[in-house]
């Protein structure tokens, strides 16, 4: 059972690769996504009395943390896949065989990350995610996209190598203490108090920098604006919401071990500082940002910062961070996809050229604006709930500096991002830019509306199953309810 | 019963005495200039004559222009009901009456100035601008003075604030009262457009304040303005008179002549000032008004420090 969500996308990838019609191939994506969603629902919702879902001798195991992220990934991929046919129809001139195959490949590898319960296996899966998603960034085959791909690949590979070294350090810390070196998370968490502290310390540093690079935390974030700026919107969504979530999961796994061991304080300090640093860097670079897709990349950096900050703060903020993972991901979907539409409509992604999107493409423009307000933490959208939970938990636990800086950076980001977004959506379209043939329609607008609907629903209430799942997952990270 | 009689005297006196003050001032000035001057009752003759005349209205104007004199007169007439004359309390007297008093005069000013703007004449606009500008500085001075009196008397009712106890306060807090007196006298001069702020007799439209505002009024309406202006003068004169000569002798009937005499004395004082001082340059007016504010403010600071 647990193998199916991994194998099915792989099979779909093979089918996709084999299919010959450039026109009909993209329709395989929603098909595969529905299948994956069904399989995932089946294992996520499997009643607890049937025991944990596991496989490969315990190397694969679905725990609440994994459930949260796997479920989210599947929904995310499903919504993106609905957008794909419409988008690829616009890009009929480009062959999409590799693109579609890689999307399925990413899905498979991301699923593997969430399911793996073994330090090494998770690393392998993360590595695979990097490699599989690289060609998608190069979809446009332009010099700029090539540069972006190169940076993504090289920086990502270096990061992932560091994570490998970190994994080895962690293993050695167990070896040094004469413990079993199965590298299964359960085992590691149980043994954590006995792990050799210097090794654990160094391992955490390496793993955090390594997976932090994949997440895009400052100052390891540098690949992000380039990659997100050049990739198609749909890839941007999958990277900003999917791959980063996987990397965040990896960070969380490492944090679980440190928390149980001697390095809890160190890990939390690092997470709070790096989280705040990421927010600050994102804020600084978002001010007067002329390229609205790069702006979204900085927004992603900011929110990755918020995630680790939330975990670092602890208590309810952990719950908030997990909820924010979902909220941020879904809102990023709104932003990236609508930005993609606007990009298509104007043939440019610079605010110098793009004005009056609300008139030119009313739906996409409005969705972009809504996405901005949502991601900025305005009620009644989801990110408000999670961001407010985090800041409230920070203040509740007496971490006033973190809470205050958090709010300050949110403010700066709001201003920086707002200037760009409003420049794009308001006003009259410039006469200089020749409009393309793109117009809002159901296939490119509908999926974004679904994203918005989810963001709104999560802002209005959290469904009971999700709440309990999040609660269980947060409990794994130290939230006592 | 005595209250009713006192109030009747109050109303009759308040309605009949004001033009006399104008006459007294004119007479004083004439004396200083070595002229015989018009009779003291000349303002009454003027009023009677004006009320019988026909009117000329500018085609530019609307009903606001006609309402200006009415509101100006009525508000002054109502205000006069609220100030204590010789009796211990005015016909209309309640906690906070000085506020209503000040704002009633404000209402009158609002309409007088609006009426001036209604003509579309640049001169009247200029007059209105000056009137409202100087009021902005006179009003705080008046209120700061009220603060002193309220602090001394412990109430916010003009009858008590300017009651018999003022005589006692002159000995205990004389400095503050003297400051208020000076400040309010300045307010009197500016509110009634007297020298050194304005010269009611000048014929240079560019330098006038109040007179230039009413250039276009004629006939009965102008009579109302004149009468309203005299009421206003009477009001402030009475306030000053009460401040200097509070009713202290204990016999209410004797207070009335004392009050009338003291009010006339204030009128003579104004006349003396008008005769001995020159008009200030328009740009120096605010300075004097700010000084008045500071005087009153200093008065209150002396009390509460």
């Amino acid at each position: 059972m647990i193998y199916l969500p991994i194998l099915f996308p792989l099979a779909m990838a093979a089918v996709t690769f084999a299919s010959t019609s450039n026109r009909w191939r993209p329709w395989l994506l929603p098909l595969g996504a529905i299948g994956h969603l069904g399989l995932v629902l089946a294992i996520v919702c499997q009643p607890a009395d049937r025991g944990p879902v596991s496989g490969l001798g315990g190397w694969l195991l679905l725990d609440p943390l994994g459930k949260v992220i796997l479920g989210f990934l599947s929904v995310l991929f499903f919504l993106c896949s609905l957008y794909a046919p419409g988008y690829l129809a616009l890009r009929a001139d480009r062959p999409n065989r590799v693109f579609c195959t890689n999307l399925f490949g990413s899905l498979a590898t991301m699923t593997l990350v969430t399911l793996s319960h073994h330090l090494g296996l998770m690393w392998v899966a993360m590595e695979a995610t990097t490699l599989v998603s690289a060609p998608s960034i190069y979809f446009n085959h332009s010099a700029r996209s090539l540069e972006a791909t190169w940076k993504y690949l090289l920086v990502g590979s270096v990061g992932i190598s560091l994570a490998l070294l970190g994994s080895l350090f962690l293993a050695y810390s167990a070896l040094k203490s004469g413990l079993d070196t199965t590298l299964l998370f359960d085992q590691l968490i149980k043994d954590a108090p006995h792990l050799s502290p210097p090794w654990l310390h160094a391992a955490f540093a390496l793993l955090f920098v390594g997976y932090g690079t994949k997440m895009g935390l400052a100052p390891m974030h540098t690949w992000k604006p380039d990659a997100y700026g050049e990739a198609p919107g749909i890839v941007g969504t999958l990277l900003a919401a999917g791959v980063t979530s996987c990397a965040f999961l990896a960070v969380l796994r490492v944090y679980q071990i440190c928390r149980a061991g001697t390095e809890a304080e160190f890990a939390r300090e690092i997470m709070i500082s790096m989280g705040l640093l990421s927010m600050a860097v994102a804020a600084v670079f978002m001010v007067r940002q002329r390229d609205f897709k790069r702006m979204l990349a900085y927004s992603s950096i900011e929110h990755m910062g918020i995630l680790v900050l939330g975990v670092g703060i602890g208590g309810m903020a952990v719950y908030g961070a997990l909820l924010h993972l979902i909220n941020n991901g879904l809102t990023k979907g709104v932003l990236f996809l609508s930005a993609g539409n606007i990009h298509r409509a104007y043939g440019s992604k610079l605010t110098d050229d793009v004005r009056g999107a609300l008139q030119r493409v009313p739906l996409s423009g409005a969705l972009f604006l809504v996405g901005y307000l949502a991601i900025a933490g305005s009620p009644p959208f989801g990110p408000f709930v999670s961001e407010f939970t985090i800041v409230s938990a920070a203040i509740d636990s007496g971490q006033f500096l973190a809470g205050g800086l958090f709010l300050l950076f949110l403010g700066v980001v709001f201003i920086g991002m707002g200037a760009t977004v409003l420049a794009v959506v308001l006003g009259n379209p410039s006469k200089k830019i020749k409009p393309t043939a793109f117009h809002d329609n159901v296939s490119t607008g509908g999926p974004i509306l679904l994203f918005v609907a989810l963001v709104l629903v999560l802002g209005l209430f959290i469904p009971a199953p999700l709440e309990s799942l999040l609660g269980e997952a947060a409990a794994q990270l130290g939230l006592s309810r | 019963m005595t209250t009713v009689i006192h109030h009747t005297i109050h109303v009759l006196l308040a309605l009949s005495l004001p033009p006399l003050l104008l006459g007294v001032i004119a007479k004083t000035k004439a004396q200083f200039a070595g002229r015989v001057g018009p009779p003291v009752l000349q303002p009454y003759y003027d009023l009677v004559k004006l009320f019988q005349k026909g009117s000329v209205y500018s085609t530019t104007t609307t009903w606001v222009f006609r309402a200006g004199p009415v509101v100006g007169l009525v508000t002054a007439a109502l205000a006069v009901l609220m100030i204590p004359l010789a009796n211990s309390s005015a016909p209309v007297s309640f906690t906070g009456d000085p506020i209503l008093f000040a704002y009633l005069l404000g209402l009158g000013r609002f309409f007088t100035a609006s009426a001036a703007l209604d003509t579309g004449s640049p001169f009247e606009g200029m007059g209105a601008a000056r009137e409202v500008t100087f009021t902005c500085l006179a009003e705080p001075a008046f209120f700061l003075g009220l603060l002193v009196l309220a602090k001394l008397s412990g109430t916010l009712q003009m009858g008590t604030m300017l009651g018999a106890a003022v005589a006692h306060h002159w000995s205990s807090a004389g400095a503050s009262l003297a400051l208020v007196l000076v400040s309010w006298f300045i307010v009197l001069l500016v509110e009634n457009s007297r020298i050194p702020f304005d010269d009611p007799n000048t014929h240079l439209e560019l330098t006038m304040i109040h007179e230039v505002m009413v250039l276009d009024h004629s006939g009965p309406a102008f009579g109302m303005i004149l009468y309203g202006a005299s009421l206003k003068l009477f009001i402030f004169g009475a306030l000053i008179a009460r401040l200097i000569f509070p009713p202290t002798n204990g016999d209410p009937w004797l207070d009335w002549p004392i009050f009338v005499l003291s009010t006339l004395a204030v009128a003579v004082m104004i006349g003396v000032i008008e005769s001995t001082m020159a008009r200030l340059r328009m740009t120096h007016v605010p300075v004097l008004l700010v000084t008045a504010c500071l005087f009153s403010a200093f008065g209150i600071i002396l009390l509460v420090r």
């Binding site: 690393w123 690289a134 090539l146 190169w150 190598s161 070294l165 293993a171 050695y172 160094a202 380039d226 | -």
Partner: protein
Amino acid sequence: MVQIFDVLIILVVALNFVALGVSRIRGVINAVALQGVLLGTFPLFVHSQIGRRVILLIVVTIVLKGRVIPVFLVQAMREANIRHQVKPVVSFVSSLLLGAVGTGLAMMFSHTLPLTKEHSDMLLVPASLSTVWTGFLMLTSRREAIMQVLGFLLLENGILLFGLLLLEAMPFLVEAGVLLDLFTGVFVMGIIIHHINREFDSISTEHLSKLKE
């Protein structure tokens, strides 16, 4: 036996310096390839008993690191028709000095990490950290994309060196990880370099800095 091993380790570290100091790209490729071959032989020294699997591992490592990847890179270089001289951001002398500093630091740092009894007298940890440092140095101070791939290879070599410590405890996993990483990384990077070539007629990353703020 241990002495020989130490000598080899020192040789590996020395190759780091060669890679930093050599000015011809071919020279760097050779140095890195030689380092790979040396690493390939190391399981012989750390494993107490040498089975078929270890032999296989050794063969694969040597073939991959010593032959396949160098050939692949030389091929890419030849196609690209590029300069054969390295044009560093940081001069060779400075690079060497920085490398020396790094090796010193690696020594110091490795002292803070306690080793198990059987590893306590090995030089593996400092050598590994020093190689990782060198890899980073090369990644950050060389302009050519191919040199960055070589830097990445050095980084991987450093990690593999460390992995040797765990070879017995976690057989196969370590090497598999390292090799997978290396293989896929280099493979995909190679493809990209190919594209870069076609796009710019050069593989200097100078062309690859259009995306910026």
